[in-house]
Symmetry: C2
Subunit: 352 residues, 2 copies
């Protein structure tokens, strides 16, 4: 007898001559079912073309979907252009992958905004990870907090109800700058990360500094200035990309008395600076020392190895994943601060 609607567990149970609850157990394996019964149920299912319990019904019943949201406060194309974000996702997927259906990527559609409140409210999440956690995300946090969805932030500001995976941005940035100083550099400039909200490129002035915004931006800048002991001549990039780094490099280097060292607050920016230097006929590290931050793969710089602060990118994701697991299990994980270590490469040397 043909049925036009999709078969349900009820149909399968009827066809196998058992009750729905027994059929349910046969699928979930969460109870005692004789092998014979179990097989009868599975056979009936196969025959009817039943694909297994409906995820939505199961979710409603169990009160969870197994879906973990990953929130980016920007458009997907921007978020995913950053190797650091990809590494984070990879670590997350590694840790959470076997558990549930997968990661729900929540991004905005505008250039700089994240997902809308409605979008967040409509997402069937068990937990959320803020991959780009800046102050402007406060409005993103609220709708999830109301729904009592466990949240994990990455390198964000400390917010009540949001577990945090942080790295030592200040210390690492200080260490990198100290390395530059120890080489004897005096004229040092910095290329800083986008100062959200309101990404724009240009020299960093008092007004921009005074805006509250990205914690990561502020911490890395602070590290650099703590090392120098004064405010640093800095260019603010509109994004962490090679292109932006190149623009920064041109702006900082194509002047009368260019710096002998540039501290970039991401490896992509550093790579762009190196490119700009080459275009201007400067050799790295002979004429210009360049340091980065992150420790991403930069095979195209070969044979140069970037001097940089290596942060545990994938590990951040793994730990965030473990925090999610803990939170879902009712445990309250401690905030984590991961170490970052200086890797001295071939892009820094004493000034001539």
């Amino acid at each position: 007898m043909a049925r036009t609607t999709r078969p349900t567990l009820t149909h399968v149970a009827a066809s196998a001559g058992v009750s729905v609850s027994t059929a349910s157990l046969a699928f979930s394996g969460a109870g005692p079912v004789s092998e014979r019964t179990r097989q009868r149920v599975l056979d009936a299912a196969a025959e009817l073309g039943y694909a297994g319990p409906d995820p939505m019904a199961r979710s409603l019943r169990q009160g969870r979907t197994g879906i973990i949201g990953v929130v980016f406060a920007e458009r997907l194309r921007h978020a995913f252009r950053d190797p650091v974000a990809i590494a984070l996702l990879d670590g997350l997927a590694e840790e959470l992958g076997p558990v549930g259906p997968g990661l729900l990527v929540l991004t905005g559609n505008d250039e700089r905004a994240g997902p809308s409140t409605e979008q967040l409210a409509a997402a069937p999440l068990d937990a959320a990870v803020f991959a780009t956690c800046d102050l402007e995300e406060e409005p993103l946090v609220e709708p999830l907090r109301v729904r009592e969805i466990p949240m994990v932030g990455i390198e964000g500001p400390r917010m009540p109800g949001v577990s945090l995976v942080d790295i030592d941005n200040i210390g690492a940035s200080r260490e990198v700058t100290e390395h530059i100083l120890s080489l004897g550099h005096k004229r040092i400039a910095a290329v800083v990360l986008p100062w959200r909200p309101g990404r724009q490129r240009g020299f960093l002035d008092r007004a921009r500094r005074d805006l509250s915004g990205s914690v990561v931006f502020a911490d890395r800048l602070r590290g650099t200035e703590e090392a120098i002991g004064a405010s640093v001549h800095a260019w603010e990039a509109a994004a962490s990309t090679v292109e932006e780094g190149r623009a920064a490099g041109r702006a900082l280097l194509d002047v009368d008395e260019p710096p002998t060292a540039i501290v970039a607050h991401s490896d992509l920016l550093a790579a762009g600076v190196i490119q700009a230097a080459h275009e201007l006929g400067l050799r790295v590290p002979e004429d210009l020392s360049v340091a980065g931050f992150d420790g991403i793969d930069t095979p195209w710089l070969d044979p140069l190895t970037l001097t940089t602060a290596v942060q545990p990118m994938v590990e951040k994701g793994r730990i965030a994943g473990r925090m999610v697991t803990d939170l879902l299990a009712g445990r309250t994980p401690e905030d984590v601060l991961l170490p970052v270590h200086l890797r001295v490469g071939g892009t820094t040397a004493p000034p001539r």
Copy 2:
């Protein structure tokens, strides 16, 4: 009176002194509700800390979640390292973003496998897009087909029940190779894409060619060989990355009589080949012509512009998104074949 459990629509309705159905309408706006009533409901909700209708319950009732799955037949870190995949995702997000909660990324955890059947079966999807659609995915298709979930494939083989967004791989690859030939090159080699399943690097021999596998691999190779009119000396890369391209370049160039032109079947591979050439002291394009495929940004090649076949990466995603919309609306979209155009850059020139 404190309540330990989260408030539901029933509580809100009771508190507002209306029926649940009215309260529901007040939230969805899908029916006639007086402004006064509506406001009362919203006020009650705010007071109780009700965050809006529960997504799971709503999904079960409506029979859809709004979630679109994006399936990758590999581990996340590999999938997301490819700018082509990112562009596709971006196009998808752009098209589908405003509609539902977001994109559910389904990847495997092993090096080369996609999500498990269980994972696919447990995912509350309205539709799925196969971002990496090779033959080996057949097992991925099946569980979704049984659940009657609409599917869209990208550059995959034509499969029943899977709408297809394709690009003219053969034609474009042929065109690129013809360009090389027209410059007068005789010794031409190719770097081909990973021949899944069983990625490995090495010279492409008869045995590898005869394996059935990636359609994209086969089509691009076919285009190249159609232009040449013979089989081409080729190196198979284990992935579409700069590093793999570099390894390929070394293998192909570090020999007695190296080719004067190399056709790489992706831009990342081409970039790696160029790097290898430079390392071997060869100038591009004077000593070696290199062509790619895809048309991604390669700012680090600057001032060189890659000769390549420019494919509409973001557009593929947008169109896939539109197909999903169509399928969900009960329409049956036509398969699409998008054009690819040759962009002659500075990496190809006549042989000396």
